[in-house]
């Protein structure tokens, strides 16, 4: 069983993450935690001083964190993006595709199940920020978007 999962090279953030409110209120912190319902775009002016963003999933069915992650990556954030809370093995792939590169679930995950999930799908239909070429790009390698 695995309690922490990282796809980053090198060090992982150890600094305790502070709330969005205290972070944007001129704190020196380099780690922040976004709760469901908080606006990830509030962090955009400060991306250069962030090394860890935690996004909390209060329940697996609360999908707001997927949008938060993509928004940060679309804005060029390259630091650690960590999913925490009610994170299940069957969600890891979608979270990876939205830009998460580390995971600290409330309940430890089965390593073998994570491995299987990550290898399951060779192809994807959407372009996101994870760099995987969607099926339409593979079908039309000669075009601009492809």
């Amino acid at each position: 069983m695995v309690e922490f999962l990282s796809f980053r090279e090198g060090e992982v953030g150890q600094e305790p993450a502070v709330t969005v409110e205290s972070f944007t209120g001129q704190s020196n912190s380099t780690a922040v935690r976004i709760e469901a319902g908080e606006d990830a775009r509030e962090l955009l002016p400060h991306l250069d001083r962030l090394s860890l963003v935690e996004v909390n999933f209060p329940a697996f069915g609360d999908g707001r964190g997927y949008s938060a992650a993509r928004i940060l990556r679309e804005a060029g954030y390259i630091g650690e993006l960590r999913a925490v809370g009610d994170v299940l093995v069957d969600q890891i792939v979608a979270m990876r595709r939205c830009g998460f590169d580390s995971f600290r679930p409330d309940k430890a995950l089965d390593d073998a199940a994570v491995e299987r999930a990550l290898r399951r799908y060779d192809d994807v239909y959407q372009k996101t920020i994870d760099g995987r070429r969607p099926v339409w790009a593979k079908r039309h390698p000669e075009t601009a978007n492809g």
Partner: protein
């Protein structure tokens, strides 16, 4: 028709194996029902009152004969010999064993079918016009767009845990046969300066707060539809309500923000989205479109129909619609036999319709949101033969859009959410109004029955709608009048206090009597209701 390439097939095959793995973990006790539930719900497997129900996706309601035949085989092998066609143009099996579900999915995958996202808080099966590609008045065939969106929405990583389910319809005609404006998002293809694009409607829906979707953008060019929808969905995913499942649909967000503010937020997000290169190249839509290029019609065919057989002529007048190609016709097959269960078909009937599609309809058929079937390309010269075969199988009812062409949800006979039984009521109504002359006299009259407030039976959109509720442990039926799911979309108004099952049948009869007594030349029931208002009907029912 669209055909999978190796990419599409590999994704569906991988899904079968994933679900097999999840089911085995459940059967072995490694997953509790609570843990398994969200996984099975992502794949259309519901636990109902008596058994599991599996909902199979029929993208935009289009099927080949081979696919239809497979649906019949599955009904015979794994169900009790029936399939039930739904208001989302899908098919449900009501008597499935959990251990069989992975095998059923594997069988479906052999004919390029699946059950992906037929439930769960994600983007559901994209629905479309059952006359797509064959009606003369469409701007373009809407199905290539629907297929593009099927692929885009399949396992979308950002939009799989939305506040609530999300339904999209695509149409391309002035006449709306898909209840487009009662969808979370409705797209209507339009042509502007020679370019095809979409009008976008957002925030429609049924449920306990029915709303007709307002227009939020009058033109999105085809090459930007994906990024525009990403913007619509992102605003919804971030700000749709999650505190109350009955207020979680996008219609509530659009209503609470106001249309203008929702539009503004979408436009702001769209301005960002369109910089990200999210749209497939135009070559991809062209690739898909090529699959939907019209079949090889014969030319120079006789365009007349021999009407010497009166029973056949009656059926032709009701069930056959004009085809854009001379010599061909669109055949509607009623799944509403006298006293029957709306939308149900036996394994044998499904097999027969598959054969007819192969032999007489260029290998193609459609499912309608009104729970009927369509053979879209039948030669007029073959109509009589098709009718005879349908008649032998109990499928030649001539009641399209008449009072016995009832939409009904599965209700309390199957569904664990229901408050009342929809099917027995539909059967009683069907018997009460069975006389063909009477139905014809009443003309177009759409009756829709839901067994609970979730409105799967579209009662809000019924010219006559019935909602089953639980009243202190007793089934009670509320009547509403004046709804429409067509291009003149509207939400029905409740008449007043509810009725018993027999009482609501009587009340509906009184309503039809008022219509017959007070209609003016050429008026449908809905027109008369709109002209007169509720008052005379209410007096007749309660007076």
């Amino acid at each position: 028709m669209y055909r999978y390439d190796s990419y599409d097939q590999s994704i569906v095959d991988a899904r079968v194996e994933e679900f097999r793995d999840q089911t085995q973990r459940r059967l072995a006790g490694q997953l509790t029902e609570d843990q398994f539930k969200p996984l099975r719900l992502m794949n259309g497997l519901y636990l109902q009152l008596h058994a599991y129900m599996l909902r199979v996706a029929i993208p935009y309601g289009t099927l080949s004969a081979r696919q239809m035949r497979k649906l019949g085989e599955i009904a015979a092998k794994y169900d009790r010999g029936y399939g039930h066609f739904t208001t989302r143009q899908n098919l449900q099996y009501n008597w499935i064993k959990l251990a069989d579900a992975p095998d059923i999915l594997a069988e479906l995958a052999t004919v390029e079918m699946h059950a992906i996202q037929t439930s769960g808080n994600c983007i559901r099966n994209i629905s479309s016009d059952q006359y797509a590609g064959v009606s003369a008045d469409e701007v373009a065939d809407p199905r290539p767009w629907a297929e593009l969106l099927r692929q885009w929405s399949t396992f979308h990583p950002e939009f799989t845990y939305l506040p609530r389910k999300f339904k999209i319809a695509v149409i391309a005609s002035e006449e709306d046969r898909s209840a487009m404006r009662l969808h979370d998002i409705g797209l209507k293809l339009v042509s502007r300066d020679g370019q095809v694009g979409a009008e976008v409607y957002a925030g429609g829906g049924m449920g306990r707060t029915p709303m007709v979707a307002p227009l939020i953008r009058d033109f999105v060019p085809e090459e930007e539809i994906v990024s525009y929808l990403e913007a619509c969905l992102r605003v919804y995913n971030r700000y749709g309500r999650r505190d109350n499942k009955y207020k979680a649909r996008i219609k509530i967000l659009v209503h609470e923000l106001g249309v203008e503010e929702y539009k503004r937020q979408v436009e702001e997000e769209f301005a960002h989205m369109r910089t990200l290169g999210l749209n497939p190249p135009t070559e991809e839509l062209d690739r898909i479109r090529a699959y939907f290029a019209g079949p090889a019609y014969e030319t120079g065919l006789d365009d007349s129909v021999d009407r010497s057989d009166p029973a056949f002529a009656l059926w032709v007048d009701r069930q056959v619609a004009a085809h854009k190609q001379p010599g061909y016709a669109i055949v509607n097959i009623s799944l509403k036999p006298r006293g029957g269960i709306p939308g149900d078909a036996s394994a044998e009937q499904i097999a027969l319709v598959a054969d007819l599609a192969e032999q007489y309809s260029l290998d193609e058929l459609r499912v309608t949101h009104a729970q009927n079937l369509v053979l879209p390309h039948v030669k007029k010269a073959d109509l009589h033969a098709v009718w005879q075969k349908l008649d032998e199988a109990g499928l030649a009812e001539a009641n399209l859009d008449l009072i016995t062409d009832i939409i009904a949800c599965p209700g309390l006979d199957y569904c664990s959410l229901a408050n009342a039984r929809s099917i027995p009521l539909a059967q009683k109504l069907s018997e009460r109004f069975a006389a063909a002359d009477r139905q014809k006299e009443l003309g177009e009259l759409k009756v829709k029955i839901s067994g609970c407030i979730n409105a799967c039976g579209h009662h809000h959109a019924g010219h006559i709608g019935v909602l089953g509720v639980d009243r202190k442990g007793v089934e009670n039926f509320q009547l509403s009048l004046g709804g429409s799911g067509a291009e003149d979309a509207s939400v029905g108004q409740i008449t007043g206090p509810g009725f018993s099952e027999d009482g609501v049948v009587d009340a509906i009869e009184k309503v039809t009597n008022i219509y017959l007594a007070q209609r003016e030349e050429g008026e449908r029931f809905l027109d008369t209701y709109r002209r007169l208002g509720m008052k005379p009907f209410k007096e007749a029912i309660y007076g």
